[in-house]
Symmetry: D2
Subunit: 166 residues, 4 copies
């Protein structure tokens, strides 16, 4: 049997597009799509964020929560929360976006480190029970991702999953 | 309860890309994606057929069968099986394609009429039990279609579905 | 000095989208863009013909004449004039299109052979004096082609060009 | 006779991708393509800047000079030179880029005001004599722009142009 592991909690310094902070625990019961990006990463702008926006539009809000995470690991002075706020406005990003908390030494922010992301864009799928089920770095085809998300939406409540990896 | 209706059998004059004729009955147990097209329909060439090819590549052959159906309802002299054969070769269509059987009076071929398709491209989703579950005319976003197909792949075997609408 | 050579006359079996046959001689005074294609050539459908249509829309009819040439060198039974007529209708090709005259032995039609084209799509630029000035096989970027066409449009009437290569 | 007017000099606070400041006067003799943009303007990122980069690659450096101009008229705190530097690095912009000098009252920078630009992206064509010949706001098709640039490249030296509008 494959044991499933809980997705790490995220550490967010500041939120946009939401009135109050969002936690993985509070989203339990929904499939969570976590889109990690940097505002000056070309592949995030042309590919990752539009994909996240399509997911946000396609699936019901009760089934799927799309969360952006600004994981700045380079150009820290250029990609500040002030710049991010203007970016989100200009690109009309409507889903909640958190700013990943500054990390210790190497410039990698805390949540990005906890998830061991390889870079941006990275997309993480978390099931209704809070388990990390997939993590993609770079381009993900819509057809495949639509299938992966639906597989988690319709997943029956398995007794062994809720017990595993906690 | 929604009663589900059986997808109409298809009437095919000639097959390409398969050694023997394919029937819906023989595909029972798989999700069937039926892509109805005409070789000289621009939206089929730019949109519908590439989508069908992506489905063919993305999902396992044991789960999903992609079937093309050449539903010629105009330009009959131009879209002959001879022309279709060259078209399939040039566009490297790898999945099985049937030529819809000529219809009675109005130029609409038989399967297209039985499915009451509005035009081409039309995409039909048929579940593992042979029930028609969705039919789309025109563009379908990959993300949504990936989700719809996966919903049928993982569908549990319901006792009431097999009895309904037959 | 570069000597310029006259573009070969084209041999056309049948014309579409023009009331009377077109000859290079009759187009003298205009820049001629000759787009050689096959209706079942994917690169012609997705790239070459839309480019030719954009040229047709962008430049004045007194400056530039866009001429399609159906140079069938394979799948002769599939790409008949009957099929071509439906193709031109469905793809809304508005510029004149000639069917290249069947060739001698190897299936290469006569004009395609005279121009020594490597395949389809091929785009030939002919100046106001009837000299062939450029010939491209495959994709040509719009920016570069726009520049090449304009260079021929504004070309001053040089005394030596009219004398060379005839 | 159309009188041609000199393009306004640009006021630049800081340059990137050039060792020394660039002036219109020093570029006399070349066709100048001035691409005015903001780093957080989606249409600039997806459309205007890639077009400028294609122009930079397509035409000879002795014929055409491509100059970017960062005309920040909104989100001034977000689109600082520090952020711009990271942006130019990530998007691999290779041509010289100047930061338009802060304006007086309404947030419009000085060069943008002098050229009376309507917004970003704006593309200005300046001929070899320093006259402004075209100014486009928003999308410009490659084919048309290639033609416009070439028309200026090959333009004969007219006696009346150098005298007009100065």
């Amino acid at each position: 049997m494959t044991t499933l592991s809980k997705a790490p909690d995220w550490q967010v310094a500041r939120w946009f597009n939401t009135e109050k902070p969002l936690t993985l625990a509070a989203l339990r019961g929904k499939v969570v799509v976590l889109e990690a990006f940097q505002m000056l990463c070309p592949g995030c702008v042309s590919d990752g964020l539009p994909l996240a926006a399509r997911i946000h539009e396609t699936f019901g809000r009760n089934d799927v929560a799309v969360i952006g995470l600004h994981t700045v690991f380079e150009h820290h002075d250029a990609q500040t929360p002030t710049s991010l706020e203007a970016f989100l406005h200009e690109y009309r990003i409507g889903f909640p976006v958190g700013v990943d908390e500054v990390g210790e030494a190497n410039g990698i922010p805390q949540t990005m480190a906890a998830y061991q992301m390889q870079g941006t864009p990275s997309l993480v799928l978390i099931d209704r029970h809070g388990h990390r089920r997939a993590q993609h770095f770079g381009h993900v085809p819509d057809l495949r991702l639509g299938a992966e998300i639906m597989a988690l939406i319709v997943e029956p409540e398995p007794a062994d999953q809720t017990a595993a990896g906690d």
